[in-house]
């Protein structure tokens, strides 16, 4: 039987609605609000960036959306249904290395599919295809400690895309990479997004990165959304090195 190597486009019905989401943390006995009744929505196939200063609540917001944290109040709805626990329909790529160190690149990528009970043919097909897309087929038997930081983030991306999530949450996934690798990863993400049709919520503190990637930017400040910017510039947006960058935006 020929392995299924297709990566289906995500059905265009994933709509995420965030309504009056609030969260406070107890810091030395004092309740410190981190999110102040935030509301916004993501349309299917949209690429939205959230940006803002460190400590403005970006990661907390993403952790609640992923189901790792419960909000104090407010709701998160995916396609009209309230979600309050983590699941493969909302996958996250973390800022730090979160690959399982005891599994190879191939096993890390296949982990979710195996746990969700997919058959071997589908697993083999999808994993091979994704590793091919992220350019790591020749590293499939390497352990995470044997590959570079950029490669690890590619595996992290492959590990979640292989599940074809409806929403892809990304928490400053390229912030620890060098400039060249970061640019490679940004291009790869744009290509994968175009190919899979995922809805992406990407957290970054780098405004240039947000402008390069997003359809829409939400600027957060002290737990609230201070500004919303829509971008209509055509892709690819990266300029060649010999052109002046000034005035592009």
């Amino acid at each position: 039987m020929k392995p299924d190597t297709s990566i289906e486009r995500i059905e265009q019905n994933a709509r995420l609605e965030v309504h009056k989401l609030a969260k406070a943390f107890d810091v030395h006995g004092c309740l410190r609000p981190v999110l102040k009744e935030i509301s916004f929505s993501l349309d299917a196939g949209e690429f939205v960036c959230i940006t803002g200063r460190s400590g403005c609540g970006k990661t907390t917001l993403l952790n609640i959306l992923a189901g790792f944290l419960l909000p104090d109040s407010g709701t998160v709805k995916l396609n009209g249904k309230i979600v309050n626990r983590s699941g493969p329909e909302r996958c996250m790529v973390f800022q730090e290395d979160a690959l399982f160190p005891w599994l190879t690149v191939w096993e890390n990528t296949a982990f979710g599919l195996q746990r969700l009970g997919f058959d071997k043919t589908t697993i083999h097909g999808r994993v091979t295809r994704l590793l091919d897309l992220v350019g790591l087929v020749s590293f499939e038997n390497h352990l995470p400690r044997e590959i570079s930081g950029g490669m690890k983030q590619r595996v992290a991306l492959a590990r979640v895309l292989v599940l074809q999530p409806q929403i892809l949450l990304m928490d400053e996934p390229f912030s620890s990479l060098d400039t060249e690798t970061r640019e490679e990863m940004q291009d790869l993400l744009t290509t994968l997004w175009a190919e899979t049709g995922s809805t992406i919520l990407f957290v970054t503190h780098d405004m240039d990165e947000a402008v390069l990637l997003a359809d829409r930017i939400l600027v957060m400040d002290r737990g609230s959304i201070a500004e919303e910017i829509s971008l209509s510039a055509v892709r690819p947006r990266r300029l060649p090195f010999d052109l002046p960058q000034k005035g592009f935006y």
């Binding site: 996958c91 979160a98 399982f100 005891w102 979710g112």
Partner: protein, 267 residues
């Protein structure tokens, strides 16, 4: 460069044998000088003869002739039972305490209190409960092996990166499956250390348990030799325990490597 690396490789193979060889040579020289009487430090030849008789001698050829197989079997059964029980109880409790703060609170004071009691202080209690014999030795081995197994499993489960647990949950692994697929593999380096320490201490407490007067076992043979003033047999017993202990540790590691990817790849 290649020559240097080969020399280094050879030195690496020789290195573990330097200390035992030095000890052996010192013993040989020391015992030949006759400065110390033979009933304190026996001669190598005498130990060799006793050892051979103990291993392959026919019963009736002396007090220890041909006892090896029976003694080793009895001791292995006691260590196996005690260490097995310590593992079955210690591993789940350690992992539970490492992941659930309430479990840690409920157990840590009690376990850390008991941990401080030396083995010799425990000895009279199992003798009163179970009498002299296998049960007492197994009780002592279980008690001794429990603490390293429990504490290392606890530490391993506790230091699991929360990101791995989150990643597991979003990839479809939560609850009990998370323990099997994320916590145990992630804690494996600590678990392996705990099991190895537990097995090592099992042999130490086995001897203590067998010193109480059981008829067979390596500890019993050593105790018997002490009563008869046979220092050569005591040395034979010590060497046999060291050898069997090392072999059991090797088998444990090989088994763990065979059973668990994370043991193989992370330790």
């Amino acid at each position: 460069m290649a020559k240097f690396s080969k020399k280094r490789q050879i030195f690496g193979h020789v290195l573990p044998w330097i200390l035992p060889s030095l000890l052996f040579v010192s013993w040989a020289v020391f015992s030949r000088t006759d400065r110390v009487p033979g009933y304190l430090v026996p001669k190598i030849g005498q130990v060799w003869e006793t050892g051979v008789l103990y291993l392959v001698g026919s019963p009736g050829g002396g007090p220890y002739a041909g006892r090896f197989l029976g003694d080793v079997t009895s001791s292995l059964v006691r260590v196996g039972l005690g260490f097995g029980m310590a593992t079955v109880i210690g591993l789940p409790l350690g992992i539970l305490s490492g992941r659930l703060p309430m479990a840690e609170r409920g157990l840590s004071v009690f376990i850390n209190g008991i941990r401080m009691v030396p083995g010799i202080a425990w000895l009279p209690l199992p003798i009163v409960w179970f009498g002299i014999g296998t049960k007492t030795a197994v009780f002592l081995v279980t008690l001794a092996a429990f603490f390293p197994v429990y504490l290392n499993a606890f530490q391993g489960a506790r230091q699991i990166d929360p990101l791995h647990v989150h990643a597991g949950a979003m990839l479809g692994t939560s609850g009990f499956r998370s323990i099997l697929c994320i916590i145990v593999p992630g804690a494996m380096p600590h678990i392996v250390t705990g099991l190895r320490l537990g097995l090592g201490i099992s042999w130490a407490y086995l001897v203590l348990g067998e010193l109480t007067g059981v008829p067979d076992g390596l500890g019993a043979a050593i105790m018997d030799a002490r009563m008869l003033g046979r220092v050569d047999m005591i040395v034979v017993g010590i060497i046999v325990i060291a050898f069997i202990g090392k072999c059991s540790d090797f088998l444990l590691v090989i088994s763990l490597y065979g059973l668990s990817k994370s043991a193989r790849r992370m330790t």
